[in-house]
Symmetry: C2
Subunit: 189 residues, 2 copies
DNA sequence: TGCAGTTGCCTAAAGCATTTAGGCAAATTA
DNA sequence: TAATTTGCCTAAATGCTTTAGGCAACTGCA
């Protein structure tokens, strides 16, 4: 019996790659077993069940995204930081569609609280330090930015903007411009 | 043999209700068959396969959403129209989480082109008539609004904003205010 | 009203994904 | 080298998906 050397980590990493290739929904315990040329049951020593596998892939994606965000924010502020951070989301989704889809998985509250999702919110707040927003407007703005990034990227990936001029890169640039203008000029309640 | 009177329409409608109750992912041909107390194979005369069923539920949801949007827009303009339209999305998602999830299903291009999704874009453009935006900024703005509505609602439903002050209703109101301000003051390229 | 054709639901069966239980051999540790 | 842990296995149950083919109940027409 030749041991392949399975670990939870390797499974999750391979699952993430598989997701990017064939789509997150197609990531199944069976497919992963085929990939490692191993019997299906063998994976269940490393992963609790199918949902556990998917959750772990989601956590990986969130962490990778947060890492990229942190790198992008280093040494930037204001609109520069905003644009860089926005591009992280968009680029990651384009490079890793399966992982990005995984990052959208609904996590139960405790898992979410322990995930890199928390870092995302912190980074968004960091960006807003370049603008003059007091609470509660800062929180409103954090939520708005999250919505735009997430919403834009998922609509674009879902083909929502397809086949129409102007191209999505131009829109993306202009949307970031518009958000910058809005944050500099946030309306009073 | 008692005939239940299955039709594609009834299946789709029941599937939509099931989605709202147990989640869109749990909507399966088998579950629907159980609901009608009928053998699984019987449904395959009315629905091509599982994916076909889900697509039809998605189309139903898109149409319902568009109908509500049209009703909300009737007789309104400017910020009033913007707020009403935004609330349609949010309310629909809260009332019909399963259907809303269905509406997010990625449709192939021809299906999408024939869907009520087209009406959504038209309505968003109609709202923008209340603001002074020429092309291509109008298209950018259409995409921004779509992103915010979609992104906000799905983050909120996914628990992304949970357990934190201020409450999401207040944020939603302020986000709509902010969008209105942005559209009235759209930055030049 | 009676019959023919259509339709609605059935049985049967194959394929694949998920999950658990229990076992043997290889790697690790003492 | 012996003992223990670990990695992968076989076997088996369950459930969802899908296709093929059949009979009974409707429908419409004479």
């Amino acid at each position: 019996m030749v041991r392949v050397g399975l670990t939870t980590e390797r499974l999750v990493r391979a699952g993430a790659e598989l997701a990017d290739e064939v789509g997150f929904d197609e990531v199944t315990v069976s497919a992963l077993a085929r990939h490692f040329d191993v019997k299906v049951a063998s994976l269940y020593s490393h992963v609790r069940n199918s949902h556990d596998l998917k959750t772990r892939i989601a956590l990986l994606a969130l962490a990778e995204l947060a890492d990229r965000g942190a790198t992008a924010l280093a040494g930037r502020a204001g609109k520069d930081a905003l644009a860089a951070f926005a591009n992280v989301y968009r680029d990651y989704a384009r490079e890793h569609p399966g992982r990005y889809a995984a990052a959208q998985l609904r996590l139960d509250p405790e898992t979410a609280a322990a995930s890199a999702g928390v870092r995302h919110a912190q980074m968004t707040r960091a960006i807003l330090r370049g603008y003059d927003l007091a609470e509660p407007d800062q929180t409103h703005a954090v939520r708005l930015l999250g919505s735009v990034f997430h919403g834009y990227v998922s609509l674009e990936m879902g083909g929502g903007f397809s086949h129409s001029a102007p191209d999505t890169q131009e829109t993306w640039t202009r949307v970031v411009d518009a958000l910058d203008a809005l944050l500099r000029n946030w309306p009073a309640a």
